[in-house]
């Protein structure tokens, strides 16, 4: 039990990182990574949404959809859950951390359409995870996302002082460095733990 959870965690954070190996959630990854502070906030919001979404979606799937033979509604129901959760997080942040709310701006409601969140709940179903495994996969997937976005934001903060050809200004240099960070993460692939 413990070993499977450890394997899931390490897989979600390092070897099968949502951004660098599965290429999910690229949009906030590029949009919200210009500053480390914002990236950390975005990462935390995604950890929260992914963990909670995994838990709620697992319950809805196992106790409502599958017994009623409505497994085909999974995607629809999951999106409903995610959208509500994001709304909730938005209200919460607006009240408690207004500065983070302003910094995240449009990218906060966009977590709704963040494919990494929908990806994690659909993968939970696909991999037949139980409740605990689902929640662990959701949270660690979120942590993997946060790790990636914070690392990349640090890289981008340094790029500002780097001397690169003018033609690469803006998104081009960003994509090149994202590719390099992804290459570094490839080093984890094939890593066997147990």
């Amino acid at each position: 039990m413990l070993s499977s959870i450890l394997a899931i965690s390490l897989g979600a954070i390092l070897t099968n990182n949502f951004i660098f190996s599965q290429f999910l959630g690229i949009c906030p990854f590029l949009g919200c990574s210009s500053k480390v502070d914002t990236a950390t906030g975005m990462g935390l919001a995604v950890v929260f949404v992914m963990g909670l979404a995994s838990a709620i979606c697992w319950v809805i799937d196992t106790y409502i959809l599958i017994p009623l033979g409505l497994a085909f509604l999974e995607t629809l129901a999951f999106i409903l859950v995610i959208a509500s959760l994001v709304q909730f997080v938005e209200m919460f942040l607006k009240k408690s951390v207004p500065s983070l709310y302003e910094a995240l701006g449009i990218y906060l409601p966009l977590i709704t359409t963040n494919c990494a969140v929908l990806g994690v709940v659909l993968l939970n179903v696909q991999n037949n995870y139980n409740f605990l495994e689902s929640v662990v996969y959701g949270i660690t997937g979120g942590i993997g996302f946060m790790l990636a976005i914070v690392l990349f934001a640090s890289v981008r903060e340094r790029i500002q002082f780097a001397d690169y050809p003018e033609n690469f200004e803006g998104f081009p240099i960003c994509l090149v460095s994202a590719a390099l960070v992804a290459l570094a993460f490839m080093g984890f692939s094939g890593m066997q733990i147990f």
């Binding site: 809805i60 959809l65 009623l68 409505l70 629809l76 129901a77 409903l80 859950v81 909730f88 209200m91």
Partner: protein, 264 residues
């Protein structure tokens, strides 16, 4: 049939439950918005011209309500609105100095020698790609394709006969045209300033005579005649010192080229 009904019921119930939770959360996490913010927003012109330097009227209203911005930054909505906003904020504001745009070029197509016929997109920047400075010989001249007129939200800027003209009765002084002009020949001047040379050319007089029938040749007649020493020729171009000018209009009378605008 059963499956369809079941799907509808299940999703409907799920939706209702989440809706109820969100409605409850909206109550719990309700954020008080400063009521003054909405009141200030009501006073503003609502053109979102950006003349105040804040992102739109909402941004400005927010900054004023937070006490971070002066109450008289909005020139578009006029002094009455500034007074009202000052009243809302409980401070004595003082009206904004109303400014109007002024085009420092008189090179209409019948007085400025053309260099080539431009036919292409109606865009000053587009025309400036050819030969660097547009279709007139004078490198300082208005291109006359109306970037400023398109930027104006108040219908105060029009291109007439190949040169931009400001309708001072409509201009609110937001500065959108100043931003839009690729030649930087549109400037904001106080509305009380009724004298302004309408030329930007720094070319020497003899040279300019060949390419423009009206441009300032830097003859210095205005400088000699000015009773207040407010108009000075530098770089072959007459310039008015707004602080010294007494608005008498004498320079406009004596100018041999009649290049000084007098709105008296």
């Amino acid at each position: 049939m059963k499956t369809i009904l079941l799907s509808i019921v299940v999703l409907g119930v799920l939706g209702a439950v989440f809706g109820a939770i969100l409605a409850f959360a909206a109550k719990v996490f309700h954020v008080e918005v400063d009521p003054r913010e909405a009141a200030i927003r009501e006073c503003l012109a609502g053109a979102n011209c950006g003349g105040c330097g804040y992102p739109g009227c909402d941004g400005y209203a927010k900054a004023v309500a937070a006490g971070q911005a002066p109450t008289n930054k909005c020139v578009a909505s006029g002094p009455e609105a500034a007074a009202k906003i000052a009243e809302i904020m409980g401070v004595s504001g003082g009206a904004a100095v109303k400014q109007v745009a002024h085009v420092a070029c008189s090179g209409a197509s019948d007085v400025a020698e053309p260099r080539f016929n431009y036919s292409g997109p109606e865009d000053c920047r587009g025309a400036m790609l050819f030969g660097g400075k547009g279709s007139k010989w004078c490198t300082f001249a208005c291109v006359g394709l109306g970037n400023c007129a398109r930027a104006c939200q108040f219908d105060a800027m029009h291109v007439e006969n190949g040169v931009a003209k400001v309708d001072r009765s409509k201009c609110v002084g937001c500065g959108a045209c100043v931003e839009a002009c690729p030649k930087s020949i549109v400037k904001l001047i106080p509305e009380s300033q009724v004298i302004m040379p309408a030329c930007s050319s720094k070319d020497k007089g003899a040279q300019l005579m060949k390419i423009c029938k009206v441009g300032c040749i830097g003859c210095m007649k205005c400088q000699r005649e000015c009773p207040a020493d407010a108009i000075v020729v530098t770089d072959n171009l007459a310039r008015v010192d707004v602080d010294k000018c007494v608005q008498c209009g004498h320079c406009a009378d004596v100018c041999p080229r009649k290049i000084i605008d007098f709105f008296g």
